[in-house]
Amino acid sequence: MTENASTATDVLERSDEQQSREIRRLTVRGLLLQGGFNYERFQNLGFWWVMRPTLDRLYPDPVDRAAAYQRHLVYFNTNPWVVGPIAGVTASMEEQRAKGATDLNDEAINSVKVGLMAPLAGIGDSLIFGTIRPILAAVCAGLAIDGNLAGPVIFFLVLLAIQVLMRVGGTASGYKTGMQFFEKLSPAQIDQIKQGATIVGLAVTGALVATMLNVTTPWSYTSGEQTIALQDQLDLVLPALLPLIATLGVYLLIRRRVSPVWVLLGTLIVGLVLGYFGILA
């Protein structure tokens, strides 16, 4: 017993060099998180791929290894850019478990994974894909529409820089601080980041509607000698009223769980019909 424990510790004492190699490997493997994506357990195959070298190293015995493989083939789904901290924390938990930490059973490891994947997905989805990317896309799309190649180039480079920083920093801090990563970034703080992103995102979406959506009406009516254009009247009340109505219409349909695909087709047809009869332009 004592002898076994000491050999295990010898194997598992990790030098700084070994640790940074492990962090690098987890970071690079995190790129394949969505590999083999499926509708039953989403990114489970990808997460297994991220963990595989760690599991192979920690569990040379086939029985233990099979259990470890199965442990990481359960449902997993998060934002692909925030997998770093989760992989880091999970790897360090597996290390503790292999050293003999009996409280780290399957359930404990999985609950930490699940506990991290949902809030971090929230950050990734609302901050990156819900706020930063749309802002960047709107600005760069404006450039591209003017025929400026800088549009796509800036879009690509800025997103790449953000992703690299998130992956490299995230994996290292997750691995090094282990489960304390949780306490460093409390649920309340995670919630705050999400709310901050949502505030900016909503304001920017409002601005997008007002500036990027150019729907007007060519209707006019004659009163006495004067011809009055409806659009001029609308502009006096609220500029960009028609874009606002169109956006809120789409939004309500999506909220009522109409598929975005049908909404897209429907909008195409509504636009064709209203344009054909000269109601909108």
Binding site: G36, N38, Y39, E40, L45, W48, P62, A66, Y69, L73, N77, P80, D125, S126, G130, A137, C140, A141, A144, N148, L149, P152, F156, L159, L160, Q163, R167, S186, D191, Q192, Q195, I199, V200, G201, L202, A203, T205, G206, A207, L208, A210, L213, V215, P239, A246, L248, G249, V250, Y251, I254, P260, V261, L264, L265, T267, G271, L272, Y276, G278, A281
Partner: protein, 254 residues
């Protein structure tokens, strides 16, 4: 559209989606990226840029949040750009081709992800016997299925759709051209509406109207609104964090 151009464009689309699977989702499938690349292959970078930028606005809110299936932006963007260039028509044509193509692409994506669900059970069996190599093979089989699910339909549409579209377009009247323009103008509402539903938060929703009003009544650009909103957020968060980190009252306010 030559056979080689169709082949190359289909390859680019499939690789962009493969990057989503194996290169950390670098957003290469976004229309703003694919538009110019496809334009380059089809021999008109300028149109590619314009169509890509326009489509990016339409699909601005389209993203896979928690496994939902949005319109497939990559196939839509590539087909729209390529066909509008080969038909020698404007941006509106691109949109009319892009939207149905994106819908078709969604079904291909659903198909690939469903097929991969069956593969998971093979992975379970392999895991029970600690066969790491088999699971790796299954992952790459899944990636290959995804690749083909984008490559094949894109290639077929480009190869056989271009002529049909050209014939339709050459017969267009002015009224129909107006209809196309209007539809093109209206479609970005879909992107913004989806974005809005993604960001939905009951307490914060009025800020959407604040951003709208700022841009509608003044000359504020999107960036200007973003800067003001960010500054506001920083001030609010700073004032709140040290004193009352998790007070339910304050979190209900923001």
């Amino acid at each position: 559209m030559t056979l080689w151009q169709a082949f190359l464009i289909a390859l680019v689309v499939a690789l962009a989606y493969l990057a989503r699977r194996i290169l950390g989702d670098p957003q290469l499938e976004r229309p703003i990226i694919l538009g110019p690349v496809v334009g380059l292959i089809a021999g008109d970078l300028e149109t590619g840029l314009i169509v890509g930028g326009t489509l990016e606005l339409i699909f601005i809110g389209a993203a896979t949040f928690g496994g939902t299936a949005p319109p497939n932006v990559a196939i839509g963007a590539a087909v729209g750009t390529a066909l509008s260039i080969s038909a020698g028509q404007g941006v509106e044509t691109a949109l009319v081709a892009a939207v149905p193509a994106a819908v078709l692409g969604t079904f291909c994506e659903l198909f690939a992800k469903t097929v991969c669900s069956f593969l998971v059970h093979r992975a379970d069996a392999a895991a029970a016997r600690a066969r790491g190599r088999t699971i790796t093979g299954i992952i790459w089989t899944g990636n290959a299925i995804h690749f083909l699910a984008y490559f094949v339909p894109t290639f077929l549409v480009l190869q056989f759709g271009a002529n049909a579209l050209e014939n339709v377009l050459s017969a267009l009247s002015d009224d129909v051209q107006n209809a196309l323009n209007t539809s093109a103008a209206l479609l970005p509402a879909v992107g913004f509406g989806i974005l809005l539903s993604v960001l939905y938060n009951k307490a914060l929703f009025p800020l959407f109207f604040a951003g709208f009003a700022m841009a509608a009544f003044t000359d504020f650009t999107v960036i200007g609104v973003a800067v003001i909103a960010t500054a506001l957020v920083i001030v609010i968060m700073r004032n709140r964090t040290p004193q009352a980190p998790a007070s339910p009252q304050s979190s209900a306010l923001i």
